[in-house]
């Protein structure tokens, strides 16, 4: 009983010491991060699987971008028990002077196959469930749209000449899951309401909702693979949620983030551990001097450590729950209906894993503790050389973490490789610099040679310090750089536009209408480029669906993209590689792609790209690569083919372009849209707003992460100074007692710290460089081109910070050290 109490008292006292606080804070911060991640991840996973069960609206959905041929649809109906066809298209809906971009869903009588629709009479009305979609002549819109358009149930809305009565406010569709994380405003009409109107657009999609048992689902999946290239099949059983791959990519990134954070934490913990170990050895030796058995003493040490761990679990859990609630609230915009629930099992698993990790870090300490002996109180034993042992356990711990958190082995492997390379470099540099410095200074007088001499005496401690700081610098630098570059990449997406209205998509007949409208309103068309909607279905015969390396490019390419044609290189493009076709060539099966696309998809010149265009399949050979060049308009395409290819392709031509609208012309836009609802015109302002919203979220996430990284870097710095201050104090005391003036002593320490910081900085830069080379291209679709000035600034700041903190610590040291020395 009193032993337990003693144990608790001890750990409480330890926690109040500087080292204790640092390691406690580090543990708590790490656990907080991991727990928050786990809880959020579990919520999203649960959401995704629940969703797939409840929100598919049928047993199976086949999504295509062009209608099935009559024969295919007949085959489909013969395999499935029941079928409902819905069609999705983006249109602009207007009411009086208000307008909004809307995702319109056309449904048939069979819709929905399963589940109910929730509707109401006003945006705030109580919802009621109905089993059928809107009847002919009715339109249902979602509540946000109703508010935006300032319209009420009973109003008449016009789409392409058809008058539709607003029948209800739509709250929920049973096949909502198919919308994924889209937050587009939605409207629903019966397909026959618009039978007379043309509302096709290149982004249009058709969904075939089928009722089918498991065997039928299998049969449909097999059939669709064969007969419907470019179609995707979502099944309730054994299927993949459409958002799963998006989330997978996010998790990969977060996995890497955790590994990096944990690594930094491990460095801080390792540094405080040195002091902890010395203290515990002393304590255990004294315990042994009054006959306490070493097993008891070890159990007590373990217990004390455990008590600290339990406390940090308590803190971290409280913080994590708070953060979790906030994050889920934020994420609800992306995953409608996501809820914060208690995920006890995953949380416990994370805590358990974290416990194992810390234990792994602690093992070398406990091993040494078990060798602590009473003899050390009679004779002073030399400091053990356990750097390698520690290093081994640290790496083992991080590998364990990586195994648990990241399923992207390549990425993890690359990170670890870069870290290992940096560590090796730093170890070698420390050895070389200090030994050479010592050799150089042997026959010289002065402070620097003396500083080298002192450092050489403490080579092991010094290299641990250098590696710790360097590793921390590497991770800090890398994270900051990655975030900065991701930010700039996103910003560069908001390319310079000319004109204030984007023609995102217009059909041939609409172009004439636009021309007339522009002439009438005094607006001008700035640029116009034609394209057809084409879906890449395979590369060199390998189906796109079978490619497994997830990337944004791949995700985008799973939907149809815009294929443009031109003979001359467009003015806002430049040739990056390959050979561009000569004008008027009759070899029309050639294609040029943007370099980013080539890298992401692993394309090479000579590859055959097969596209599904307007129901036919066309093969092109990749011959060139073009990149965007600013200055001549913003419209550019991922893929371009020769002009001579156009006659060979049977698909409607659409246009993309930009316009400059005069002030009064804006008011006249609604009229244009009423006649041509599918005409996709996006005011630039809206575009930048939409983009800013996305960027805002990315910024929030990265800022949170940067805060974590900086916090841990701070812990490492604090740990490194406090962990070595005992050594420094003794050294300083001795030097002063030998008559060195305080100022010189300070300068000596400064030399010491700057050598340490400089070697660490070199290691950090080298590590960042190799990590950048390895990871950027491969994982984040970024070109690695370090901004030397930026890197240099960061490094200088780091070296400065380290020296400054070291200087402060040393000044404090010098005040107490002589007296201290007398006391012992």
């Amino acid at each position: 009983m009193s032993r337990l109490q003693l144990m608790l008292e001890n750990s409480w006292r330890d926690l109040r010491s500087g080292d204790g606080r640092i390691s406690m804070a580090t543990q708590t911060a790490l656990l907080f991060f991991l727990l928050t991640l786990t809880l959020t991840g579990a919520s999203i996973q649960r959401y995704l699987s629940d969703n797939l069960d409840q929100m598919l609206g049928s047993d199976l959905v086949v999504e295509t971008h062009s209608p099935l041929t009559e024969r295919d649809e007949a085959t489909f109906r013969s395999i499935a028990t029941g079928l409902s066809v819905t069609q999705l298209t983006d249109i602009t809906l207007t009411h009086k002077d208000e307008w909004a971009r809307v995702q319109l869903k056309l449904v048939d009588d069979a819709y929905p196959m399963q589940g109910d629709l929730q509707i109401g009479d006003t945006p705030v009305a109580t919802q009621r469930a109905v089993g059928r979609g809107p009847k002919i002549g009715d339109i249902w819109i979602d509540s946000r749209l109703a508010i935006k358009l300032r319209t009420n149930v009973g109003d008449i809305l016009t789409i392409g000449g058809a008058d539709l009565r607003l029948g209800a406010i739509l709250f929920h569709e049973p096949d909502r899951i198919m919308e994924g994380h889209s937050v587009a405003m939605r409207a629903m009409v019966h397909a026959e309401s618009l039978a007379a109107t043309s509302i096709s657009s290149s982004k249009g999609r058709l969904r075939y909702l089928a009722t089918a048992d498991e065997r039928q689902q299998q049969a449909i999946a097999t059939w669709a693979r064969q007969a419907l290239p470019g179609a995707s099949v979502i099944r309730k059983f054994g299927g993949q949620h459409p958002l799963a791959s998006f989330w997978q990519r996010t998790e990969n990134f977060l996995g890497l983030a955790s590994v990096i954070l944990f690594f930094m934490g491990a460095v801080a913990l390792d540094m405080t551990n040195r002091r902890w170990l010395a203290k515990m050895r002393y304590r255990l030796a004294i315990y042994a001097s009054f006959g306490t058995r070493s097993r008891t003493a070890m159990l007590m040490a373990l217990g004390e450590w455990l008590a600290g761990f339990l406390l940090s679990i308590a803190f971290a859990s409280a913080l994590a729950i708070l953060a979790y609630a906030l994050i889920v609230a934020e994420l609800q915009a992306y995953f409608p209906g996501l809820r914060a629930a208690w995920h006890v099992a995953p949380a416990l698993k994370t805590i358990g894993l974290f416990f194992l990790l810390l234990l792994a870090l602690q093992v070398p300490s406990f091993v040494q503790l078990s060798r602590a002996s009473l003899l050390s109180l009679i004779r002073n034993p030399g400091e053990g050389r356990h750097v390698w042992q520690r290093l081994f356990w640290n790496i083992a711990a991080v590998t364990l973490l990586a195994a648990a958190y990241s399923d992207n082995w390549l990425l993890t492997g690359m990170t670890l490789t870069a870290i290992a390379a940096a560590l090796a470099l730093m170890a070698a540099l420390t050895w070389a610099v200090i030994r050479l410095g010592d050799a150089w200074g042997r026959r010289r007088a002065g402070l620097l040679p003396f500083a080298f001499f002192m450092m050489r005496q403490r080579l092991f401690a010094k290299s641990a310090q250098v590696m710790g700081l360097g590793l921390c610098g590497l991770l800090l630098l890398f994270s900051l750089m990655l975030m900065r570059d991701l930010g700039t990449m996103m910003e560069s997406h908001g390319r310079s536009h000319d004109g204030n209205l984007m023609i995102a998509e217009a059909q041939s007949d609409q172009i004439d209408a636009i021309r007339h409208w522009a002439a009438a309103t005094g607006s001008s068309i700035r640029a116009l480029r034609p394209f057809v909607s084409a879906q890449l279905v395979s590369v060199n015969g390998k189906a796109l669906a079978d490619m497994d390396k997830p990337s944004d490019t791949l995700a985008t390419l799973k939907d149809p993209i815009r294929l443009s044609w031109t003979d001359a290189m467009p003015e806002n493009n430049r040739l990056v590689g390959g050979t561009w076709w000569s004008a008027g060539t009759d070899k029309w099966r050639q294609i040029s792609a943007e370099p980013e696309v080539m890298t992401d998809m692993g394309l090479a010149y000579g590859d055959t790209l097969s596209y599904q265009i307007g129901g036919a399949r066309h093969d092109f050979m990749l011959v060139a690569s073009h990149a965007y060049r600013p200055g001549a308009g913003s419209i550019t395409f991922w893929f371009q083919v020769p002009l001579s290819a156009r006659p060979q392709i049977d698909a409607p031509t659409r246009y993309m372009g930009s316009m400059e609208l005069s002030e009064p012309a804006w008011k006249a836009l609604a009229a244009l849209w009423q006649q041509h609802p599918t005409l996709s015109l996006v005011p630039l302002q809206e575009l930048t707003e939409r983009f800013d919203r996305t960027l805002g979220i990315v910024t929030k996430v990265t800022a949170g992460y940067a805060a974590m990284v900086l916090l841990l870097a701070l812990f490492v710095l604090a740990a490194s100074v406090s962990g070595f201050s005992a050594d420094d104090r003794q050294k300083n005391g001795l030097l002063m007692s030998m008559g060195l003036r305080e100022r010189d002593c300070l300068r000596l320490n400064l030399c010491d710290w700057s050598v340490t910081a400089l070697i660490a900085a070199v290691g950090a830069i080298a590590g960042t460089w190799s990590a950048g080379l390895l990871i950027y291209r491969d994982q984040f679709d970024l070109t690695y081109s370090p901004d030397m000035l930026w890197v240099a600034t960061i490094i200088l700041a780091m070296v400065g910070a380290v020296c400054f903190v070291g200087y402060l610590a040393c000044r404090q040291n010098l005040k107490v050290s002589v007296r201290d020395l007398m006391a012992t």
């Binding site: 032993r3 001097s289 009054f290 002996s373 009679i378 012992t824």
Partner: protein
């Protein structure tokens, strides 16, 4: 039959890179719990080593050591559980106050009255009013008195002291030595002291001189 530590022709040496340091060869002696023993000798003679071997902390290079408690032969671990130490550097826990340091061994043995017993001992060593002071607030002599009390507080069979007054002035040494021997006699505990102070050694029942690897009764 008192508790004993039997040293049977023990030898000890240290191997360094260049040479072998021979400390002693074929020493035999029986330390009894009912007597006080002082070992004197020049610095570097191997006194500390001999003490460590006798306390079961180190194993001699040659020869053997037998521990007997209550007439039963026991191993070094059991012996250690029944012995206490006093050091030249005092080695109090810096983070604990005087009474906390004194109570520590009792609490480790699971004694519920640790603080009461510690208070009596504190009184006995004359530091009752310093109970709440931490080691750095106490003088060397005061620290060592607490260290002495701490060694005796659990009632061990043997106490080993390595130059317990090595860091103290003559006057303070006297009082600490007196305290040690009084406590030893009062609690009937075997006391083994290594010292180079002849004044202190004279207080012991037996004085041995370790010099050039030989153990002789001192004159």
């Amino acid at each position: 039959m008192p508790d004993t530590i039997e040293l049977n022709s023990i030898s000890h040496h240290f191997d360094t890179l260049s040479e072998r340091i021979e400390l002693f060869h074929g020493l035999s002696y029986t330390i009894r719990a009912d007597e006080t023993l002082a070992i004197i000798g020049p610095s570097g003679a191997g006194k500390s080593s001999l003490l460590s071997i006798a306390a079961g902390l180190e194993i001699p290079a040659d020869g053997d050591v037998r521990f007997t408690i209550d007439g039963v032969a026991v191993d070094a671990l059991t012996m250690r559980a029944n012995s206490g130490f006093i050091f030249q550097q005092f080695h109090l826990m810096p983070e604990l106050d005087a009474i906390g340091n004194l109570a520590l061994p009792l609490r480790l043995k699971g004694n519920r009255h640790a603080f009461d017993i510690a208070a009596t001992w504190l009184d006995k060593v004359g530091l009752k009013d310093r109970a709440r002071h931490r080691p750095h607030q106490l003088s060397g002599g005061e620290q060592q008195r607490i260290a002495v009390a701490r060694a005796f507080v659990t009632g061990p069979r043997f106490i080993f002291a390595d130059e317990p007054t090595g860091n103290l002035d003559v006057h303070t040494s006297e009082s600490v030595a007196a305290l040690m021997f009084d406590c030893a006699r009062e609690t009937r505990c075997g006391l083994v002291i290594v010292t180079h102070s002849h004044a202190m050694a004279k207080r012991a029942d037996t004085v041995l001189l370790l010099d050039s690897g030989q153990l002789k009764a001192a004159a």
